[in-house]
């Protein structure tokens, strides 16, 4: 029978939630790296027992932890993230130049085919790559160096590169998203990059349709349809049908189009999930009711999913990397909250139940389907 492993990063350690394919009884392992901020934990598709964890604190900096046995044992590998050449400056919150400074790894994106190859999206925004299982890291300098880098500004959470989309059919095509610079893509394996924000409209910046400067919160793709991308922006849920060359809005009838997390059903590339949040100043669900919204039409028309979720007095948030799907049938959907709950649905969102209720603030959730 298949198994599921849910990898959870929190502000005070990592947790591994495991179940058989029925997904009703779960074991909880952790905290791993207790007391450290774990921004992301994710596994290699090429070797599911190889897991990478981003471990950091503001005091002692960044570590990259790696497990080669499915999370039973871990070893710190490489933590030397040096920007290529002269780091230069980006804009600070007040618009003045600010030196590029490495803070932490927000997101790992392992290669779908090579267990030793993994990308890291970092703050201050840049894309690094390791080809030796996380021991050594080199920046892909074409991203920051393509021209607009000095104009990038941080979002409220820091200037983070949080989304890395790899086209499984064409390794030369990659797309990344940065808060609050926007989306950038490469068609030549990372040597040259271009802004990919056409169609985005952000009222909070001087030119609402600027080429860069949009606060993109997260981007998701279904691997069977790499041209189609879904985006949760600061405001607006967006879609691209041409790998980011252009975007159009699919917020439709959502109660709020502000939010952070977005993901796609494992077997239905047109089925998308978001968690609407009230507004940019009210980071909790509308009306104190936690509802996931599902569109089965690729956006535009959305259905609230609330069975098993708190429908009163609920004022938590679901962060950008804290939603994931497994590949069982029916598809499992998982999300973690700033209140420390990890909710699971084993029926594609129709109903929900908490796996755990009292973890630290959840920063990231990934799901693995194992044989």
């Amino acid at each position: 029978m298949s198994r599921v492993r849910v990898l959870v990063g929190t502000c005070k350690g990592a947790f591994i939630l495991a179940s058989d394919g029925i997904r009703s009884d779960w074991t909880v392992t952790g905290p791993l790296f207790g007391g450290w901020e774990i921004y992301h934990v994710t596994a290699s598709p090429a070797d599911p027992d190889r897991i990478y964890a981003s471990q950091s604190t503001g005091w002692f900096g960044q570590q990259v932890q790696r497990s080669d046995d499915g999370g039973l044992t871990w070893q710190p590998v490489g933590n030397d993230f040096r920007y290529d050449g002269v780091a230069g400056t980006h804009q600070w919150y007040d618009g003045t130049p600010h030196p590029w400074e490495f803070a932490r790894v927000w997101h790992f994106e392992p290669s779908p085919t090579d267990r030793d190859a993994v990308f890291a999206g970092v703050e201050d925004a840049a894309l690094f790559q390791s080809l030796d299982g996380g021991a050594g890291w080199k920046e892909l300098p074409g991203l920051r160096g393509h021209g607009s880098g000095p104009a990038w500004q941080p979002g409220a959470g820091g200037m983070c590169l949080h989304s890395v989309i790899l086209d499984p059919a064409d390794p030369a095509r990659m797309l990344v998203a940065i808060s609050a610079a926007g989306v950038f893509r490469t068609l030549d394996g990372g040597d040259t990059w271009e802004p990919a924000n056409r169609g985005l409209r952000s009222e909070g910046i001087p030119d609402a349709e600027a080429e860069v400067g949009h606060c993109v919160h997260h981007v998701a793709m279904h691997p069977d349809r790499p041209d189609v991308l879904f985006m949760q922006k600061h405001w607006d849920v967006m879609r691209s049908d041409d790998f980011g060359a252009s975007w159009y809005e699919i917020s439709g009838d959502l109660p709020s189009d502000f939010g952070f997390a977005i993901d796609v059903h494992a077997h239905e590339p047109q089925t998308v999930y978001v968690v609407p949040i009230t507004s940019d100043s009210l980071h909790y669900p509308p009306d104190g009711r936690l509802r996931v919204y599902r569109s089965r039409t690729g956006g535009g028309e959305w259905q609230p999913l609330s069975e098993g979720l708190p429908q009163r007095d609920c004022y938590l948030n679901v962060l950008r990397d804290a939603m994931a799907v497994d590949s069982l049938d029916p598809c499992g959907v998982y999300f973690g909250t700033t209140g420390g709950q990890v909710y699971a649905s084993r029926d594609a969102g129709d109903s929900w139940a908490p796996i755990v209720r009292d973890l630290p603030r959840v920063l990231s959730v990934e799901a693995q389907t194992l044989p």
């Binding site: 604190t57 503001g58 005091w59 900096g61 570590q63």
Partner: protein, 98 residues
């Protein structure tokens, strides 16, 4: 033998139960002590000092003999009681936040 006390997070990272003991050959400075500490426990590189600039990280402090010696400088000679192993060299995560 010089005794070095690490904060809890770095003890767990380095797999150190209590103090680290090390000896120095040549200059008996903060820089030499940290070089020796990182040689024994390479995982500590980048945690106390920036990995590239070797500057002390902003929220790390060094205490010795009841004094804050954080600003003495990398080239400062270690106090005699630290060199004698009577007093430890203490690496501290500064109090910050709630």
């Amino acid at each position: 033998m010089i005794r070095v006390v690490l904060p809890a997070h770095l003890r767990s990272l380095a797999g150190v139960a209590k103090e680290v003991e090390l000896s120095l050959e040549g200059a008996a400075t903060q820089e030499a002590l940290l070089d020796a500490l990182e040689a024994i426990h390479p995982v500590l590189r980048g945690t106390i000092r920036d990995g590239a600039t070797l500057q002390r990280r902003p929220f790390v402090r060094f205490f010795a003999c009841g004094e804050d010696v954080s600003h003495a400088g990398a080239g400062a000679t270690l106090p005699a009681p630290v060199l004698a192993g009577v007093e430890p060299f203490i690496v501290v995560g500064a109090m910050a936040g709630g």
